[in-house]
């Protein structure tokens, strides 16, 4: 699964903004870019929302690494 990461999606969004603002596209292309841009923005937001707070500690035992929740207090 080669899913775009946040940075790549954000970069594409920025490119679309620039392209649209340059105004060299015809109306059809503009509408298409608009839809694509809105889609990218949605994806970015989704990726930000998707993340879940996790503070974990990796423990090594006999060469095996296990992950546990970590409480810094």
């Amino acid at each position: 699964m080669s899913k775009e990461n946040f940075e790549e999606t954000m970069t594409k969004l920025e490119e679309i903004v620039t392209e649209l603002e340059n105004g060299n596209l015809n109306l059809d292309e503009s509408v298409q870019k608009f839809e694509e841009g809105m889609q990218k923005a949605k994806q970015c937001n989704k990726m930000l929302e998707e993340a879940e707070k996790k503070i974990t500690i990796l423990l090594e035992k006999d060469g095996e690494i296990t992950e546990e929740n970590f409480d810094a207090e």
Binding site: N5, L20, S30, A41, L48, E49, I57, I65, A72
Partner: protein, 395 residues
């Protein structure tokens, strides 16, 4: 008198046995400064250990030398552990070193400068080798002590910037013997198992000795070889370590490292919203522009008075037709005049007029007879009068 001499070999054997029997010499810890260091191609290390007054030869076999975590060099103050024995062939005693560790830090500043110069020359600090820190790492790996302010600061700053951040702490000792090896090892583990998108390696402030693991070559090399981008955060703003020079990004403090590694989600969201607005504005502008163009077209005479052109053409057509009619009439008139003239002339010349006065035309076989000689008796002729004709026969 009989001399009871022993051979050199016997002597050296005797002395060797004496040494080997001595418990103190079998397991001894000696400290001194390395000189005359030779790394033999076989992998064995030969050197001399000295202090102000004396020196002793040392050998460290390959199997032991391989396990060394550092590279001994001339002038290094070390402690060696091993046994003292005699090399019979040469009649010398030497320390057979099993392990060696750096004794104190010696002149740390000098070591720091030396290592820095060496690694810089090797290209470990090259900007071109530095990896970019990802804009939005999914997992932030942290290599530091499990206890203390550093990890707490990093967690606090990170969660403030992104409440949904994922921080993965891989605890390492950050000072004391073995810390450097541990740090290097853990950097490798993070890389091998791809446990993070970016790694913060750091510790809080302390003395130069405390910070020393971050000035060790093994850590520098591990950072250099790491495929995951590394942010160094060692001590305070004024503390610079070798790790800082090799790292892809140097943070002045652990809190600053968290700021560099974790993007502010609220800022990112603002940015996305502003992009969305700009996209909307652009499209709106485009559509308005199109509308203006459309309206301009619609205002053109072609659309406001579409029959106007046709009407204009009609008018032109009508004038043409009028001119044509006049012209035809004129031609007709001319021809008529000419006709009347010709008819009058014709009339004047017409034999018919003469016929009315009592003349007649004589024809024979459709030919007009102009002379009596043309006729003979019994010729059938036709006499044409003004009002008709009669057949006749010449007598």
């Amino acid at each position: 008198m009989k001399y009871n001499a022993v051979t050199v070999t016997q002597l050296n054997k005797y002395i060797k046995d004496r040494f080997d029997e001595d418990e103190n010499l079998n397991a001894i810890l000696v400290k001194g400064e390395i000189s005359n260091f030779k790394n033999h191609y076989t992998g064995h290390l030969y050197f001399t250990l000295k202090d102000e007054n004396s020196l002793v030869k040392c050998i460290m076999f390959k199997s032991y030398a391989e396990k060394l975590a550092f590279k001994p060099t001339d002038g290094m103050k070390v402690m060696v552990f091993g046994s003292v024995s005699v090399f019979e062939r040469d009649g010398v005693y030497q320390i057979y070193v099993k392990t060696m560790m750096e004794d104190g830090m010696g002149d740390l500043h000098e070591q720091f400068e030396k290592l820095k110069a060496k690694l810089e020359k090797e290209g470990l600090f090259d900007q071109t080798h530095k990896k970019r820190i990802p804009l939005y790492p999914k997992v932030v790996g942290v290599l530091t002590s499990q206890t203390g302010a550093v990890i707490r600061d990093i967690i606090n700053v990170s969660t403030r910037r992104n409440p949904n951040v994922h921080i993965r702490l891989l605890p390492v000792p950050v000072q004391g013997p073995g810390a450097a090896e541990q740090i290097a090892e853990k950097i490798k583990i993070m890389n091998e198992k791809k446990l993070a998108d970016v790694i913060i390696v750091g510790r809080g402030g302390g003395s130069l000795e405390d910070l020393w693991p971050f000035n060790e070559e093994i850590v520098a090399r591990a950072i250099y070889e790491s495929e995951l981008p590394i942010i160094s955060a060692v001590g305070h703003e004024t503390d610079f370590t070798i790790a800082d020079f090799v790292a892809d990004l140097r943070a002045p403090t652990p809190s600053a490292a968290a700021e560099l590694a974790v993007p502010d989600v609220y800022e990112l969201k603002e940015k996305i919203i502003s992009y969305q607005n700009r996209i909307r504005q652009s499209l709106k502008k485009k559509i308005e522009l199109m509308k203006l163009r459309y309206e301009k077209c619609m205002k053109s005479r072609v659309f406001t008075d579409p029959t106007r052109n046709i009407k204009d053409r009609y008018i032109i057509l009508d004038t043409y037709i009028k001119r044509l009619e006049t012209r035809i009439r004129n031609i007709q008139k001319d021809k008529q005049t000419r006709y009347v003239e010709i008819v009058a002339k014709l009339d004047a010349l017409s034999p018919l007029k003469t016929l009315t006065r009592g003349y007649c035309l004589t024809e024979k076989e459709e030919h007009i007879i102009k002379s009596a000689k043309q006729l003979k008796a019994d010729d059938e002729i036709k006499l044409k009068f003004y009002d008709g004709e009669k057949n006749a026969k010449v007598l």
